[in-house]
Symmetry: C2
Subunit: 335 residues, 2 copies
């Protein structure tokens, strides 16, 4: 049933070593022999068994990537960038979705460890991660994605979320808004905390500006809708005059809730700005202002660092790459 190198070797009247050489170093084999082996492979329908290769090699040719939410286009863009870079070196991306859940995150890391992946890219939930340390101890490079490494012990590729938060709220200030609501959570997610911190700084820099925090359980459209409904239910005088949502998914939800029955006009009564600038943002009921991040470049760069670290090992100087976010103004803030 299963065709192995041995069968191919027999069919081509060569040794298994030669078959392996044809597969991996064809230039070391005489052209006529290469041809004969290739013919045998085609005839028998031989396909390499990756498990056997990996076992011998000691590690796989896959890179594990754990994201917070696959349904967030930002992360699929990151994944795409990662895949592109990985493909350049004949590698594959294994995509895991933690759904902002520590257990799921953990089980993906366990899985990746059993698979002896070439390296791990992770957008981690929390800070302390013994599992990451264990991976590293095993010699598996770990690169943090969309998050700057707290200590310098990991390479990381991130966007400055504090600056992004500041950019968003300063823009709201410049367009005359003063009573800001920040919608986002849980604050244990670093991106959320940083964006809020940036918002706080911008608020502090603007006399008379106030900031209210509406905490959510996760960064989804549904949670955004709930937050938006809470705002809509308030008496007009008690509503904020601008909402800064921790990501575009939340912002879309907020927008849906505010617009429902046309009760609250955006941006007239409440301005709204999101974060990530996903494709759908510009197609929203009211096109959404947002903070743009170079998503696929983040993924690309992360794999790049990972492969360098994998190659050079311990001597590789870990790097913290930080990209700068960019304000995109659209109708939802009166652009």
């Amino acid at each position: 049933m299963a065709v192995s190198v041995r069968d191919v070797a027999a069919a081509a009247s060569v040794s298994v070593g030669t078959v392996s050489n044809v597969l991996n170093r064809p230039d070391k084999v005489a052209p006529a022999t290469v041809e004969r082996v290739i013919a045998a492979i085609a005839e028998l329908g031989f396909v390499r068994n990756d498990a056997a290769r990996q076992l011998r090699a000691g590690r796989s040719r896959s890179i594990g990537l754990v994201v917070l939410d696959v349904r967030n286009p930002f992360f699929t863009d990151v994944a795409r960038g990662a895949e592109d870079r990985a493909a350049e070196d004949g590698m594959t991306i294994l995509l895991g979705n933690s759904d902002e859940n520590a257990d799921r995150e953990g089980s993906y890391l366990d899985l990746f460890e059993e698979q002896r992946v070439h390296g791990v890219l992770i957008s981690p939930l929390a800070d302390d991660l013994p599992r990451l340390a264990r991976l590293r101890a095993r010699g598996t490079p770990v690169v943090l994605v969309d998050r700057e490494a707290a200590d310098r012990s990991y390479s990381s590729v991130a966007v400055d979320d504090v600056v992004g938060g500041e950019l968003a709220v300063r823009h709201l200030a410049e367009t005359g808004r003063r009573r800001i609501a920040f919608v986002g959570g849980p604050s244990s997610i670093r991106q959320v905390a940083d964006r809020l911190e940036g918002a706080r700084r911008a608020v502090a820099a603007t006399p008379g500006m106030t900031l209210e925090v509406i905490e959510t359980d996760s960064l989804t459209v549904l949670q955004g809708r709930a937050a938006g409904e809470a705002i809509r239910e308030r008496r007009p005088a008690e509503r904020p005059d601008a909402v800064f949502a921790a990501n575009d998914l939340l912002a879309m939800g907020v927008l849906q809730a505010l617009m429902m029955q046309g009760s609250v006009r955006v941006p007239d009564e409440v301005a709204l700005i999101g974060y990530d600038d996903i494709d759908f943002a510009s197609a929203a009921v009211v096109p959404l202002s947002s903070i743009r991040q170079p998503a696929s470049l983040i993924g690309y760069t992360a794999v790049d660092l990972l492969l360098k670290e994998a190659e050079r090992g311990e001597e590789f100087e870990r790097q913290q790459v930080v990209f700068q976010p960019e304000l995109v103004v659209r109708a939802s803030t009166g652009g």
Copy 2:
């Protein structure tokens, strides 16, 4: 460096066979021994090497899934359903994105074949797929996703796209529209062809109704925008009075283009309906009418069939599951 069962066995003063039994059939081992082995595992930080397991087992515990577009929320929902069902049996989903490109599709299938995956779930581009046949010949079950198997040789889980297309256009007819434009392509994608076929039937059933086809290169927001711009550029009298887009991504693009500079009002001048009912549809500039499909159920069911076929082998009667689509009316068709 690498800790193996042999090291664990030595540390716990048992044989490798016993360690394996502790790992796989703990009830066959005396409790005291189990404890000793577990302690050794913890102390040494042993983690199973999946490649070795797979090699021995002959196949992996992963299921390959190839989708047309990861950025389409419909497919991420399918993937999520698949993942849930796979997890119930301790299996993993490997997600591949063909991007509607035959080469990419092929290289994922090759990859999955080298990995000796447990089975393959695929939303295929075209009809003839020698690679699928080869996988099947190897005994790897293949289940078609979001596509009914032409012959009965594959199991499949699909939604009746002809009915869906009919539903969409009949709804347009009932709301008084007559000059329909179908936006979608390439027609080599079965879903596109079927939805168009359904549209044709509804048109044929309605006196005085006409159908125009605006072919696109792919099913993306960008392509939709291009189609929408083409419509916007026409003299009002030559515009269709309704657009049926082959999926929501296209529809969002069309919508963006029509609304640009407020040139064409939706639904007053042109009604618009999409397909898939992705989360973002309800949050669009004008909330989008659409045809809903049970995405995550599709994924769940597909893995279910796949596992059954993997277990029972040849004697398993292949099944073609077909779900029925559902019309969701929103503002873009005057709902």
